[in-house]
């Protein structure tokens, strides 16, 4: 017994040594086995976005911890102005900002290069966001001018530190080439790329020349830990300080019980929407779609998914987005009415519909709960489980009558409306994105809102669009799931974490351990 104790003590001391020296090293655990291509203009996955945001700035940024574009503030640009018609934007850049790894000062040339790179199909996954951009010019060393073909809902949204708006350093990108740059990304952010070890971790170190001041943390180790249980155990054992959680109420309850742990359910919430394929029977009959909508009890699903980590949907655009219609006339839960509507449409014995669905556990449990609710109204939903990439391929081939899509988007109503409900985005067309329902009822409003420069009128158009889509029942919005993160309460982020568009907590120059 005594010997065991001694051995335990020795082993414990040996194991504890590296941890004690970690005060300025933040270790983050991510539910992934890789971060993907380390190029901010290509990478659109959660693990990549969460990591790359620590290295890159935009011309503007959303105040750390917030979600809405209403909180936009200067980043690499000190100030900006736009012409009355919203087609010409001029940005004044900060002077003296240094690129990582001694690639020189960040100037308007770099900003022009970055935006052109982001708008080119070959070098960017987000090129379509820049379709309305006509010209990008450097007026002088610190002035940038963007001219648009037509006004767009949020120009600032495409020049912020998100997706294509991430600013890269021209000299580095040209010198390293596309593939080289993805191995050694160079930006201007508080942390600089240091190391990448496949399947293990990626590391960034403090940028001592960061324009907002040298970061208090010396390095961030971003560990790839795909197994949920192992991530939890590593957190409890003190091997990681911050981690992405499992989207379950039980996880929140368990983690909250661990002393010294802070658990945050942050936006953007991913909204679960059931898209109904209106191009084929039985959903070509609006009464059937209405019955489907009335058979779903949003409150029951909310309780099922966890009250602290989810919320009922309010519209076909998630809550908190610029332009969301909080009063969208969603159909109330009414099983009797649903049955009556089905009978009226010629289906007194109910209907059977097919839903190809991913096997991802969180999405599947939602679908099974919905299936049970629908059954009460006489709607049999056959779930055909397929693996995730197969699901994505098959729903885009129009093979599913009901498509459950769970997603968050840039928080402006236009993005959700355009991608999911504009006829241009209908699946199996050359301009397809994710309009699975073949909805076209609000095209006019969506288009008009895009070029509307009067903010109030623009929002009114978006709200009308949402009303029309809801009434037509192109889709049934059900529930929103928040992103869960846990971290040690000895870590002071330097802001209140309510949201992060890049899906991981921003780590700032002020972030530090206080204990």
């Amino acid at each position: 017994m005594r010997r065991t104790l001694v051995w335990t003590a020795i082993a414990g001391a040996l194991a504890a040594t590296p941890a004690a020296a970690q005060k300025t090293t933040l270790t983050v655990g991510m539910q992934s086995q890789d971060a993907g291509v380390l190029d901010p203009h290509i990478n659109s996955g959660t693990p990549g976005k969460a990591f790359l945001q620590w290295m890159f700035n935009g011309l503007v940024r959303i105040k750390p911890g917030e979600l809405s574009p209403d909180f936009i503030e200067p980043d690499l640009a000190e100030s900006w102005t736009s012409s009355p018609d919203g087609k010409e934007w001029t940005f004044k850049l900060r002077q003296g900002v240094q690129c990582h790894h001694d690639y020189g000062e960040f100037t308007a040339e770099d900003a022009v290069y970055s935006l052109k790179r982001a708008s080119t199909k070959d070098s960017s996954a987000f090129s379509s966001d820049y379709a309305s951009v006509d010209k990008i010019e450097a007026v002088d060393k610190y002035t940038l001018k963007i001219t648009l073909k037509e006004a767009i809902p949020s120009l600032l949204g495409i020049v912020m530190n998100y997706h294509g708006g991430n600013m890269v350093c021209k000299k580095a990108a040209e010198e390293l080439g596309k593939d080289g740059f993805a191995k050694k990304p160079v930006g201007t952010g508080p942390f600089m790329f240091a190391e990448y070890v496949p399947q293990q971790y990626a590391k960034v170190v403090a940028n001592p020349k960061y324009f907002r001041g040298a970061p208090k943390l010396k390095e961030i180790v971003y560990r790839f830990i795909p197994s949920d249980s192992s991530r939890d155990l590593a957190f409890q054992a003190g091997e990681i300080d911050m981690m992405l959680g499992r989207q379950e109420q039980a996880w929140v309850d368990r983690m909250t019980a661990i002393p010294g742990t802070k658990v945050v359910a942050m936006a953007p919430a991913e909204m679960s929407v059931l898209h109904l394929n209106m191009s084929l029977p039985p959903f070509n009959d609006i009464r059937v779609r209405q019955a489907f909508a009335m058979a779903i009890d949003r409150n029951a699903i909310w309780q099922f998914r966890g009250k602290g980590i989810s919320r009922p949907a309010v519209s076909v655009v998630p809550s908190g987005y610029s332009g969301t219609n909080d009063q969208a006339p969603l159909y109330p839960y009414d099983v009797a009415k649903a049955k009556a509507l089905l009978a009226e449409a010629g289906y007194p014995n109910g209907i059977t519909v097919k839903a190809i669905h991913t096997t991802l556990p969180g999405m599947m449990s939602f679908m099974e709960a919905t299936q049970a609710l629908l059954k009460k109204a006489g709607i049999t939903m056959e779930i055909i489980p397929v693996e995730h990439p197969t699901f994505h391929a098959q729903i885009r081939q129009d093979l599913s009558q009901v498509v459950h899509f769970q997603a968050a988007r840039f928080p402006v109503a236009d993005v959700y409306l355009t991608q999911f409900f504009h006829s241009r985005s209908t699946v199996k067309t050359p301009t397809a994105v994710t309009n699975f329902s073949h909805c076209s009822v609000a095209d006019a409003e969506i288009d008009a809102a895009r070029s509307e420069t009067d903010k109030a009128k623009q929002i009114a158009l978006w709200k009308t669009a949402q009303e029309k889509i809801v009434k037509e029942v192109c889709a049934v919005p059900v529930n929103e799931m928040l992103q869960l993160w846990a971290y040690k309460d000895s870590l002071d982020l330097g802001y209140e974490l309510k949201a992060s568009l890049n899906l991981g907590p921003p780590i700032l120059e002020t972030t530090r351990f206080v204990k």
Binding site: G36, D179, T390, F405
Partner: protein
């Protein structure tokens, strides 16, 4: 010996070619689009088409197959669609992790399995035999991911003897600490197999005439068991160990994921999820090569432990 090796080599080449073709076909039959996976779900059809062209997966299948085969022949396995790094580099980076885990697991498995198997055989139908048989049954039927989590909770979380993130080669001690739990987890399964094989092989050998003769001549019991009987019983044991190298490498997928170790298993799961064609193809070549090489090595070891086996 030379003729045998040549024959095996020719056979291996044919096997490899067949596997390559099969993998190429299967990878493309499975639905799912790598371009879609890379670009995410907001990309429009035009962007996806552009990415498909960039990746070369919009070319005719035969064309792709041709360049795949010629590439495979000269060791040019392309770059991973997801990370952009050469496939061969990705594989070689993690291969040693899987090999060392397999090797240490085998050593643990043999160190536990052989003596227990012998012990059980010598004590046939007595308490030690029952205990050994029950133990091996448990070892075979216990789900490895459950034992992995139990090991982590017990030794990493409660006792803090070993780390949860089991990938560290910074010092020999760190290496030892990080490999022990995953190797024990896999080694226990291996031990269960080896115990069973050793027991039955020993039982058979112990009934041979020469054992009886040795006993009659008064050779000490220990010498009969360990020197004479075990030497002959080793043949099936070597075979089973050889066969299980391939299975162990396959089994390592789960162990690598739960213990956060890099390795082939983790790589192949990622490649499958992301429809990373070149990576999947490269991995299959490596897996096939390993299995083929292990089989040849098993045959050679066979000859070494049993002089009666002739390689021709």
């Amino acid at each position: 010996m030379g003729a045998f090796l040549l024959k095996r080599l020719a056979f291996s080449v044919v096997t490899l070619f067949a596997v390559l073709t099969l993998v190429f076909v299967v990878v493309r039959i499975v639905p799912g689009d790598p371009a879609q996976v890379i670009l995410g779900d907001q990309a429009d059809a035009a962007a996806i088409a552009a990415m498909r062209a960039r990746l070369g997966i919009d070319r005719p299948l035969l064309d792709q197959y041709g360049s795949f085969l010629s590439g495979a022949l000269i060791g040019e396995w392309g770059v991973s669609l997801v990370t952009g790094r050469p496939v061969i580099r990705e594989i070689l980076d993690v291969l040693p992790w899987t090999l060392e885990l397999t090797l240490v697991s085998m050593v643990i498995g043999a160190a536990i399995g052989v003596p227990i198997g012998v012990w059980a055989a010598v004590n046939r139908n007595r308490m030690p035999d029952y205990v050994a048989r029950l133990g091996s049954l448990l070892g075979l039927s216990f789900p490895p991911f459950v034992s992995a989590i139990m090991l982590l909770i017990g030794f990493a979380l409660v006792l803090r003897w070993f780390p949860v993130i089991s990938a560290n080669r910074s010092t020999p001690w760190a290496w030892f600490q990080s490999i022990m739990l995953p190797a024990v987890n896999l080694g226990l399964i291996m031990a269960a197999y080896i115990t069973r094989v050793t027991r039955s092989a020993m039982l058979e050998v112990m009934q041979e005439d020469y054992v009886r003769t040795a006993r009659a001549k008064g050779v000490p019991w220990g010498a009969i068991v360990w020197r004479h009987a075990l030497r002959n019983a080793l043949i099936p044991i070597v075979t089973i160990v050889g066969l299980y190298v391939g299975i162990l490498i396959g089994n390592s997928v789960l162990t690598e994921i739960v213990f956060n170790r890099p390795g082939l298993g983790k790589l192949i799961i990622g490649a499958l999820n992301q429809r990373d064609y070149p990576m999947l193809q490269g991995m299959m070549v490596i897996y096939t090569l390993i299995v083929v090489l292990v089989n040849v090595a098993t045959d050679l070891t066979y000859a070494l432990v049993d002089p009666r086996v002739k390689l021709s």
